[in-house]
């Protein structure tokens, strides 16, 4: 009897141990490279930067100062403007469309949704040659609109999918009650549905912002060098340039940390909403 109990305790201990070590592995997988990045960005001098050891000093903030000496502040500004504009335009335009699809009578919904899905599956490289020609003729190379216009088009499908799911989950009775009380369809949308959908709108906004903030292919083609419009990812990739065989590891890792920390903090604070948004856009039973 006592032996049996002991065995039970033992297996459940090992079970627990196994579970926690697997969770630990996931945490390590997700977080360790970032810890390495911070560690490296604080190292100074060739000896420390070329050593695989995490504790090889000296440490200091010199790398962070030299990042801003190279005009990284402009890149941050450009990325903030481009990603911010994309988010505002995309959410405004997309929430109207999503409401129409979720709630209003519309013929050919399947055709509309298929077309939106086709844009979602679109390889953005297909736009590179034609838009480059168009932007060159319209003078949109190295400008903000040259970036946020295509970003809006590419993030609209996901925005519409996410928001349609959120709108569809709001009880219809509320709107109908408003309509019975004499509200127009637009008033029902604006005063009843939109406030209730705020968490969904928020989730979609973050996902759009992250896409626009991280985009590299179009940014490096349409605004490659000029600090007037060059965004953060392009700048981080371009730190490569100076000497072909020696990337400035200290500067690059410092720039990476500067960009990543605010995004990680934002993600951790808003994680529930982001997860809800990501899964609403992609998982349907």
């Amino acid at each position: 009897m006592a032996k049996d109990e002991g065995a039970v305790v033992e297996t459940s201990f090992w079970r627990k141990f196994g579970r926690y070590s697997m969770l630990g592995f996931i945490l390590l997988w997700c977080l360790f490279p970032f810890v390495w990045l911070i560690d490296t960005s604080l190292k100074l001098g060739d000896r420390a930067l070329n050593s695989p050891s995490l504790t090889q000093g000296p440490f200091g903030l010199q790398n962070y100062i030299s990042v801003f000496d190279q005009g990284f502040g402009y890149n941050l500004r450009n990325s903030a403007i481009v990603a911010g504009t994309t988010t505002i335009v995309c959410i405004t335009v997309g929430s109207l469309a999503a409401y129409a699809i979720a709630r209003l009578p519309l013929r050919g919904k399947v055709v509309i949704l298929s077309a939106i899905l086709a844009v979602a599956l679109f390889p953005s490289v297909a736009l590179v040659p034609p838009l480059y020609e168009l932007w060159r003729n319209l003078g949109l190379l190295n400008t903000y609109p040259g970036l946020y216009i295509p970003y809006t088009a590419f993030t609209l499908p996901l925005t519409i999918f996410i928001l349609t799911t959120f709108y569809a989950s709001i009880p219809k009775d509320l709107e109908e009650a408003a309509r019975v009380d004499g509200a127009t369809a637009f008033q029902a949308f604006y005063k009843v549905v939109l406030p209730l959908a705020a968490p969904g709108v928020f989730a979609a906004a973050i996902i759009v912002f992250v896409y626009a903030w991280n985009e590299f292919l179009l940014a490096s083609t349409f605004a490659p060098r000029d600090l007037v419009a060059q965004t953060v990812p392009v700048a981080i990739a371009a730190f490569t340039g100076s000497v072909e065989f020696q990337r400035p590891i200290g500067t690059i890792t410092a720039a990476c940390v500067i960009v990543t920390i605010p995004m990680i903090i934002m993600t951790l604070i808003l994680q529930r909403r982001i997860v809800a948004g990501l899964t609403a856009g992609a998982v349907k039973g």
């Binding site: 579970r19 697997m22 969770l23 996931i26 997700c30 490279p33 970032f34 390495w36 930067l49 695989p52 050891s53 109207l96 469309a97 209003l104 009578p105 519309l106 949704l113 298929s114 939106i116 599956l121 679109f122 390889p123 953005s124 490289v125 297909a126 736009l127 590179v128 040659p129 480059y132 216009i149 809006t152 088009a153 590419f154 609209l156 499908p157 999918f161 127009t184 369809a185 008033q187 992250v210 991280n214 590299f216 292919l217 490096s220 990739a237 990337r247 690059i252 890792t253 990476c256 960009v259 990543t260 990680i264 993600t267 994680q271 997860v275 990501l278 899964t279 992609a282 998982v283 039973g285």
Partner: protein, 304 residues
Amino acid sequence: MSATTVAGRAPAVKKQRGLSDTGLARLFLSPSVLVMALVAAFPIIYAFVLSLYLYQGRLREGFGGLENYTEALTEPRFWDAVKATFIFTITSVSGEFAIGLGFALIMRQAFHGRGITRASILVPWVIPTVIAAQLWYFMFSVTPGFVNHILGLDRFNWLGEPGWAMFSIVFADVWKTAPFVALLLLAGLQTIPDELYESARVDGATTWQRFRFITMPLLKPAILVALLFRTVDALRVFDLPQVMTGGANNTESLSMLVQRFVVVTLDPGFGSALSTLTFILVLMIGVLFVRALGRDFVVGTGGE
């Protein structure tokens, strides 16, 4: 219906009551349709038109018909890029799927620590791909050589060897996106009712049987959606090889090839032919997936 075909004109008639519902629907939908038509659909047509002309540098030399296409299809570099893109897609998507499913199953089991794990899983997702690329470039490079240090290798040049360069890029992609796949699959797992597992356990089903006959079939829609988005995304890979190898050692993807003919080689005709071919290829694979998912997927995504 015909009275409200032009949405903008309807209010004049029904000013007091606002637009009809159908009119409002069209009005709401039109900005989105307009943006997507102008920025996504129109350029595709324009690219096809450009691809029919021959250029010498930036100067148009004349109409060439399908000449750019025959040139592209007989160009070994194009087929190398197709091969590299497919190798990348198949290996990275299978790696992400296997690891993502593992993570999702672990997280479903866990009661303590689920919150912090789910939060940390978003960290690789939110890190810009360019940053992930630089990070893993340094991890795999000879100095500081962190990967070599961990594996006890001396000065192995991961990014300088043909097969291993691709391996490093695939590894970086799996690191970044497996957690995202886990998130999607976890959401799918959470829709499976616990009672199913309990009654199966009562009936004496083993862990494997429960996985095989309950989890897999019920998770199938979530799996297919995750695979669709990951595959299409992997086919347009650009950031990782561009930053990690610059396309050396057979890692030049289709997106890199197209971009090069626009920015470096400056041939709008040939570049457009390549981009049109890429577009057709990716769209065909997307259509195959959507076929497999069925019509319900498209309608289902729309909520109702």
